[in-house]
């Protein structure tokens, strides 16, 4: 039988606020345990939540970015369950009336076509703390620093049909939340997490199969592997006469398998009800418009523009729009140079990205400014330096030796374009190598490279390559 996979994702994006969703405690990552858990986060008796304005703004921004409806009125509810990392015994979340509903985002498939993935809803909620399982005399330690960190839970429609599509969707959302600056996207620190609902059905069948919820997948690679494993497990199970049960399964990256979370098997009854400590969140149209005005050009639109306006390939456009600071950097360079968008792209994607990678730096911390890079590219275009020498100039700029003109002057890298000077050098080389000249003239074309090498050596690479080639050819044939 041929099977079809059905996947829906629930993505938890931590919103990049300074303080928590309902308290004034810091959200900074990595502090000593429980030093960023205030009375509200600890759920001490008598304390009350007050909503952070910034989370409303960020959720609204996200809603607008995925063409969703931003609810005029949304309501916080309590999700009641007991767990040690949940201090109040309930999580404040949104249930019946989420802040964002009915949006979508497009993904690109391998065959180059695009597919629209629906976003059912995105709602605000508070994160839980962390249980530390290293052994404290048979006890578990609880750190509540993370408790109360704002989360946007983004729930997709079950629109994806393969692990690859799921990863493509997750990447698009990941790119978007960073682009609109509502989440830092740091997956190692858990700022961007994902649960996947996975089911299979015989191809052609309308009804969905029974789904399993995969938890704890914290990288793009693991999403793909976890889903692939789970799909195979479900198909094998059904084909051998078994039945998929609706359950939560944990992905174990060490063993590359999913396993049932039996400890949580008991039926959950979350007893949702509107949180009486919080009032309905009302968003005025003027607020929405003010947020809309702050929306940057979104990655999809920017990608299309890079192709049409700068003549870049899809690959280049994709690469350069992967993050907003990178795309901004690139555009600044292009604007400054005023031409040769492709050459600019090559430098940003080539040496610059390689150096950033090598030194573990973000584009925002690049030692070479957009002005410096543009200045250097201008010197390539006006033949002051060759592309090859430019690499040396770039390294010097990277190491803080000043802008391109200063480096060129200081190191004497200016290209030799004086035909007389180049001719003189060629004459000297030909005179010193009579045997090779004879051999070349008798048909050993390959020796041309030898003469170029000698000339470049003599000029420390500064001879204008095109001029050198032309003159050398003329002299050798003469």
């Amino acid at each position: 039988m041929e099977w079809e996979t059905v996947i829906g994702l629930e993505i938890h994006a931590q919103l990049a606020t300074k303080s928590k969703i309902f308290s004034g405690a810091s959200t900074a990552f990595g502090a000593a345990p429980n030093t960023q858990a205030c009375a509200v986060d600890l759920g001490l008796p008598g304390v009350l939540p007050v909503l952070n304005r910034e989370v409303v703004r960020m959720a609204t921004k996200f809603g607008l970015a995925i063409n969703a409806t931003v609810a005029e009125r949304s309501v916080f509810a309590r999700k009641n369950y007991f767990y040690p990392d949940l201090p109040k015994g309930y999580q404040i979340s949104q249930y019946e009336l989420p802040i964002v509903a009915h949006g979508h985002i497009d993904i690109e498939l391998e065959d180059g076509t695009t597919k629209r993935i629906g976003v059912t809803r995105a709602h605000l909620e508070e994160d839980a703390g962390k249980s530390l399982h290293e052994d404290f005399h048979g006890m578990t330690g609880i750190d509540l620093n993370r408790a109360g960190t704002p989360l946007l839970e983004i729930v997709s429609e079950p629109d994806m049909r393969s692990a690859q599509e799921a990863v493509a969707y997750m990447k698009r959302i990941h790119e978007l939340v960073r682009y609109i600056e509502i989440c830092d996207g740091n997956m190692q620190e858990g700022s961007f997490r994902c649960d996947a609902n996975v089911s299979v059905r015989p191809k052609g069948q309308k009804e969905f199969g029974t789904r399993a919820e995969l938890k704890n997948i914290n990288s793009f690679r693991f999403v793909e592997k976890a889903i692939d494993y789970e799909v195979e497990r479900q198909i094998a199970l059904i084909e051998s006469g078994g039945k998929v049960v609706q359950e939560t399964r944990l992905y174990d990256p060490d063993r590359d398998e999913t396993r049932s979370m039996r400890a949580k098997e008991e039926a959950n009854d979350y007893r949702y009800f509107p949180d009486p400590d919080l009032l309905p969140v009302v968003i005025e149209p003027s607020f929405i418009e003010a947020v809309r005005a702050t929306l940057p050009e979104l990655p999809e639109a920017r990608r299309r523009r890079f192709v049409s306006e700068y003549g870049l390939s899809n690959y280049d456009a994709d690469f350069l729009t992967a993050s907003r600071p990178l795309a901004d950097y690139y555009e600044d360079v292009v604007k400054s140079v005023g031409a040769e968008a492709k050459l600019c792209a090559n430098w940003v994607m080539g040496d610059l990205s390689a150096n950033l990678n090598r030194d573990g730096k973000e584009i925002t911390d690049s030692p070479v400014s957009t002005e410096q890079l543009a200045g250097m590219i201008r010197r390539i275009l006006d033949n002051t330096i060759s592309g090859k020498i430019a690499k040396e100039v770039f390294e010097a700029m990277w190491n803080g030796e000043g802008d391109a003109d200063a480096v060129i002057d200081k190191k004497g890298l200016r290209q030799i374009t004086d035909s007389g000077a180049i001719e003189k050098i060629i004459d000297d080389i030909l005179a010193a190598n009579p045997d090779n000249v004879a051999a070349y003239r008798s048909g050993k074309d390959k020796l041309f490279g030898f003469f170029v090498g000698q000339a470049m050596k003599a000029t420390q690479g500064k001879a204008n390559p095109q001029q050198l080639n032309d003159l050398l050819k003329k002299k050798l044939s003469g």
Binding site: L44, P45, L48, P84, G89, R271
Partner: protein, 484 residues
């Protein structure tokens, strides 16, 4: 000194007739002498009280005293007090010393008031008789065989017996008004949102409201002025300026329209209580008020509605009492579930557990619509009843409680009978309206309370209407015997 009102004590302090330290010592001595009979305090904070009193005297000598500076009061043990145990009358919080002050406490402190201690109450404010306290029942100073009412029974008994000139209370379904009535004192539950709930241990968040309990309406006006106000830490606190409640007290009542809901005078009302209330209404007629009969048709459903809303909210509010970060933790839990179940099972008393279970049930899958949603709809209907009534009248009056104080132990076996004792007070909480109870006579030796319900944020009028009555009656000046 202990028979003086807050206004008189304030005048005495200003005139230098006595110092705050003297005043505080006087009340501390009275507590030491008499509270053994009443059990109205859970904690008496002698040292911090004397320190606060000395600080108040110093503040006065610097010329920085306000009207309440140096005046002692008792705080209901539901308000978190930094450094002084806050038990909520529960074994669960027997060892709980809050690391912060409730806003109400902070505001009383800022006014320079002196906290004598923390008063007894029903456990987590769940009760109408003060019999659910982990620290034992409070006795009614008028008759120690009787309950003082609840849940703010300790505050009411302490004020009635002159162990404190005033006290704070909280009212979720009548917990200020009913004990005020049963102990013969005055108490007002303000409009929901008028007084901050921050640091007040939550019972039912959409119903809870703190207010003052004192002997006179004027004293309630003074204390409410200090308690009320916007608090940015409480999302349900209202951004609205606090009027000078004392300024309006003197207004006469000519032309005041009083509504008497027929449903508050029907079956279930003790005729002797009814007669006392009728006499009080007659007094208002003599003061120039116009009395009309009105109807609040859904009155009978207030108690059923309340016993869904309040338990549902409390079942969730009390989940944080889990033995992990504070409070009672059972001995040697064998696993996590055991830790939760035994800490909570052993830490909570029977009434609290009943309400948590009712609330859990009402919110659980399959029952939400029939119970919780239905109750919210009922709440709307009850609220609409009042809205219509206040198109006709300025204030609604009736009995606070259908009977005078009942005997200790009389209703403990039957929770439902106990719940029905709150039939007249609960609706104001469901609607969020301000309500007040003032002394209006006796049946035998047990006081009767007259209830006044006002429109939203009409506390000043309620206090005015109550004050005018107290200018022509002396019920509020009566003192129980045996506490001189």
């Amino acid at each position: 000194m202990h028979n003086k009102t807050l206004a008189e004590l304030s005048a005495g302090l200003t005139a230098g007739a006595f110092s705050s330290v003297e005043l505080t010592r006087h009340f501390l001595e009275r507590i030491a002498r008499f509270d053994g009979q009443l059990n109205s305090f859970i904690t008496v904070s002698v040292e911090s009280a004397l320190a606060q009193a000395a600080a108040a005297d110093a503040r006065r000598s610097r010329g920085e005293a306000g009207p309440l500076t140096g005046i002692p009061l008792a705080q209901k043990d539901i308000f978190c007090t930094n450094g002084v145990r806050t038990s909520c009358a529960s074994k669960m919080l027997d060892s709980f010393v809050a690391p912060y002050d409730a806003t109400v406490v902070a505001q009383c402190n800022a006014a320079g008031m002196v906290m004598l201690g923390k008063t007894n109450m029903d456990e987590f404010a769940m009760g109408s008789s003060n019999e659910t306290s982990f620290y034992g029942p409070v006795k009614n100073p008028w008759d120690t065989a009787a309950v003082p009412g609840g849940s703010s029974g300790g505050s009411a008994a302490a004020v009635a017996a002159r162990l404190a000139p005033a006290a704070t209370g909280t009212d979720t379904g009548g917990s200020i008004r009913q004990p005020a009535a049963l102990c013969g004192i005055s108490g007002i539950k303000p409009t929901y949102g008028r007084v901050s709930r921050y640091g007040m241990i939550a019972f039912a968040s959409s119903l809870d409201q703190a207010g003052p309990m004192a002997r006179t309406a004027e004293d309630c006006a003074l204390l409410l002025g200090a308690m009320a106000g916007f608090d940015p830490r409480d999302s349900t606190s209202v951004e609205r300026s606090v009027p000078d409640y004392r300024a309006a007290l003197g207004q006469d009542l000519k032309g005041l329209k009083i509504g008497l809901p027929q449903e508050y005078f029907g079956a279930g009302l003790d005729p002797a209580v009814g007669a006392a209330v009728d006499a009080a209404i007659d007094e208002y007629r003599r003061l120039g008020a116009e009395v009309v009969e009105i109807s609040l048709p859904n009155t009978g459903l207030a108690v059923p509605t309340y016993y869904v809303v309040a338990p549902a909210e409390c079942s969730s509010n009390l989940s944080r009492m889990d033995g992990v970060r504070f409070g009672y933790r059972c001995e040697n839990p064998k696993d996590l579930e055991d830790l939760y179940k035994r800490s909570r099972g052993e830490g909570f008393g029977a009434e609290v557990k009943r309400r948590i279970m009712i609330g859990t049930y009402a919110l659980s899958a399959g029952y939400y619509d029939a119970y919780y949603l239905k109750a919210q709809q009922m709440r709307q209907l009850i609220s609409d009843d009042f809205k219509r009534a206040f198109e006709q009248v300025d204030v609604i009056m009736g009995p606070t409680s259908p009977t005078v104080a009942f005997n200790i132990g009389e209703k403990t076996a039957d929770p439902v009978a106990m719940y029905l004792a709150d039939v007249y007070t609960i609706a104001a909480n469901l609607a969020g309206l301000p309500g007040m109870s003032i002394p209006a006579g006796f049946v035998g030796n047990r006081p009767v309370g007259l209830q006044l319900i006002g429109n939203y944020f009409d506390e000043a009028r309620l206090l005015n209407v109550a004050h005018q009555y107290q200018q022509v009656t002396d019920w509020h000046q009566r003192m129980p015997q045996g506490f001189e």
